[in-house]
Amino acid sequence: MRERPKSAKLWVTCMFMCMVICFDIIALVTPDREFSENENRMLAQKPTFSSKSLSDGSFGKDAEKYLSDQFAGRDVWSTLSFFTKNSVFKQREMNGVYIGDDGYLMLIPSACDPASLDDKLAAVNAVAERFGDLNQCMMIVPNAVTVLADRLPQYAPVSEQPQQLEYISDNLHGVKFCDVSGTLNDAAYKGEEIFYHTDHHWTSKGAYLAFCQAAPDLQINPNNVRFVVYTASESFEGTLASKSGCHSFKDKIEIYVPKKEIPISVTYFDKDEMRGTLYETGALDTKDQYALFLGGNHPTVTIRTTAETGRSLLLIKDSYANCFAQFLTPFYDQIIIIDPRYCYDSVDMVIRQNGITDILYLYNADTFLTDASLVDFLAMQPAQENE
């Protein structure tokens, strides 16, 4: 039998060498990027070469990070990898994010430690007891995994937040629990956009519905103020898009402005800055467009208004409150906003120094159930330290 002559072609070799060298050349000629908008993080820069960095092996590791971060078309590669995992392998979650129906990305909540929850509730109840004459409310907003449960991937674990919120509600003493779950669930069922598709925050619409629901507890009448809705952005791509690698949706950010605007001043103590608006429009030019609301998270923000209602609100919160504040300004002369994750003051001091009349705890369920900084903020300070 005559053997067929073996082909001696270098197709794959040439393909490999050409492709690899082409990418190297593109990476070489394109300038290095400092920040990745898609991933929302700083990118590794050229590693510094020294005998020390070489001998401890850190040069090799840094060089690898640099090459990977500055690789030609980095964002396209991430999208390709997401596509393979999601569309070919049908993976339902990426990096702690559910890929839900209708383009919804939903953060998978962290596990809650029941003992630390009890500590938090005890601290809240203790404040209620110390300042019994203040109107105190707590609004814990269920997350997208709970409200948009029907958009979760099939068989995804059932959220435990309804039971956890009920537990919180049952164990508060002297603090009214503003239950907004029903309102948000109904609105979501009707197709209202309660949460951003690409971010873990709620929309202004969601916050507005919750505000109306909670108004009686807050002892305010929302009907006294009419809000006008403006679209601030239609190109918002939030942190969940970065985290999951899914970049197929752009969200709309709306703001609610009182029809009869009243002058306000917003003071950011960490930046030593005063503004005449709640909205940092500069944030719309950055990746984190949600920072439009109050410029993102700050330890302490004070809003002063000319509402002349004689009421002063202490808002103890996480970032969910940033877009909620816009509904509160017409109802309080002063709103002190504290984010205990970054603030090292104590609640007693803040209340006494600012003539607080109302307290509102506003958190999303995931942060409230897992973040422990609230306990420190609420802990009673010895009297002498306050004076």
């Binding site: 072609k9 270098l10 490999f16 993080r41 090799g60 392998f89 068989y155 995804a156 970065s242």
Partner: protein, 470 residues
């Protein structure tokens, strides 16, 4: 440096290939050695120092053994061989097993040892076995010692195999180090193997790792049998694609530089028996133990009792070689038990069972073994096996199991199909058409694999750095 890093695939490899072409034949081994030194030192230069010491020691020991063999000093030869092997094993034991040993002594005697050892150098389990292979082959006369120290260093440190093998025997590689030719065909095959291995490891094994990690995150107390089996399948297939893919890359690389290494995996999950499985899984390790432990002990040409003893030694050592944990010893004993059953009890029965059914049974037995292999300790392994049997936890099936299945079944099915010769034989059929179209399609396919692997290599760094940002 890792074979699946951007720096290796996009800079080190293409540069090496070009340099290898430029450098004249006589300097090529020195070039490969230089590249290997760079490769090893890249992550941790201290590793290179240790490997260099091992090279120097084994080079002179091998020369001495060759001399003694020629001069007929049998007793002296045995002494030198014995101490040479002991020195290599001492290095391995020091870095890999001392803490394990002390912990066990501590558990028995109640004495607490506080010992922190430096991190084990890259590929220690592999290069010490390569060195032992060299000493044995030279002492036995199967191969002459390599006189050129640079060539000898290349045998130990060749970057294609230093990190995770294959453990190429000295007698297989020595001749190729002295003389080898690089044909166009082997270059092309080398690249094909390298790209295939890269894709197996980065795309398939990496994704299976995600499935397995999701299962591992489920508490054993509430794990259903469905979830447990998904985890078992995922880790079994992950290990095959990770290690098999790595071996393909290593063998492909070797081929790119003119070496020809035997295959390390031969579709092990299609084996018809456990004996067959071990002829197809990590072939270079099995063959090392056969040649340097089992046969020197007398192999199977001894009494039944002695044969069982020989096999037991081999399998306890094989288990321990994989790691310093009782789970690996149990895993080794599990395989020993199955092999003994096959060899001495079931031989007549298994012959009557259709081969497809035998393959399925062998696969399931291997999968059960891997769950022990991957368990963090013996208690976890025992509980996990109970869950697989549907005992305790959430029964046979639950929502978590269904959820993990809905997001993992395509990958698992693809991986099972990929661990059979199905794709390879399809590719072969297409290539035998020998039409230009087939070559174009083939090249495009490899281009696609390379693109996909690149995407996974790059996006994997996303997740590892992300948490600092949020």
């Amino acid at each position: 440096m890792s074979l699946t890093s951007i720096s290796f695939v996009f800079i080190f490899l293409p540069a090496s290939v070009v340099l290898y072409r430029i450098v004249p034949g006589i300097g090529r081994n020195a070039l490969l050695l230089l590249l290997s030194v760079l490769f090893i030192s890249w992550g941790n230069p201290a590793d290179m120092v240790l490997i260099a010491l091992s090279i120097v020691f084994n080079y002179f020991t091998a020369l001495e053994l060759a001399h003694l063999r020629r001069s007929g000093g049998t007793l002296m030869k045995r002494l030198v061989l014995g101490s040479g092997i002991a020195a290599n094993l001492a290095l391995l034991v020091f870095f890999k097993y001392v803490v394990f040993l002390l912990n066990n002594i501590g558990a028995l005697t109640g004495i607490q040892f506080h010992l922190t050892l430096p991190q084990a150098p890259i590929g220690i389990s592999f290069f010490t076995f390569s060195a032992i292979s060299c000493l044995c082959d030279v002492a036995k006369g199967d191969e002459d010692a390599i006189l050129n120290p640079l060539d000898f260093a290349l045998y130990i440190a060749f970057f294609a195999k230093i990190t995770s093998g294959p453990i190429v025997k000295f007698r297989e590689m020595a001749g190729q180090i002295r003389q080898r030719s690089l044909s166009v065909q082997s270059l092309e095959e080398g690249f094909k193997l390298f790209i295939t291995g890269l894709a197996k490891k980065v795309i398939i094994a990496g994704s299976l790792g995600t499935v397995y990690n999701a299962v591992k995150a489920v508490p054993l107390g509430s794990m259903s049998a469905l979830t447990a089996w998904e985890g078992a399948l995922a880790c079994s297939l992950m290990l095959y694609f990770d290690f098999g893919g790595y071996s393909d890359m290593a063998i492909g690389l070797a081929r790119i530089f003119g070496f020809s290494f035997s295959k390390n995996f031969d579709y092990p999950y299609t084996s018809v028996s456990m004996t067959d499985f071990w002829r197809r899984w990590h072939i270079s390790l099995g063959s090392w133990f056969r040649d340097y432990v089992y046969i020197p002990l007398g192999g199977s040409r001894v009494s039944k009792k002695r044969n069982i003893f020989n096999l037991s030694v081999v399998w306890i050592l094989t288990g321990l070689w994989h790691g310093a944990n009782w789970t690996f010893v149990i895993w080794g004993l599990y395989h020993l038990g199955l092999l003994l059953l096959e060899k001495f009890v079931l031989r007549d029965i298994t012959a009557k069972i259709p081969s497809l059914i035998r393959s399925v049974i062998t696969f399931i037995l291997a999968v059960i073994g891997w769950t022990v292999f991957f368990a963090e300790d013996v208690a976890y392994a025992a509980l996990y096996l109970l869950r697989m049997a549907g005992i305790g936890g959430s029964g046979w099936s639950d929502r978590t199991g269904m959820y993990l299945l809905s997001g993992g079944w395509i990958l698992l099915a693809l991986a099972i199909a990929g661990s059979t010769p199905l794709f390879a034989s399809a590719a072969k059929k297409i290539s035998t058409l020998n039409k230009p179209a087939a070559e174009v399609i083939g090249t495009l396919f490899f281009a696609l694999l390379l693109l996909g692997s690149t995407a996974f290599m790059i996006s994997d760094t996303v997740s590892s750095f992300l948490y600092a940002q949020f």
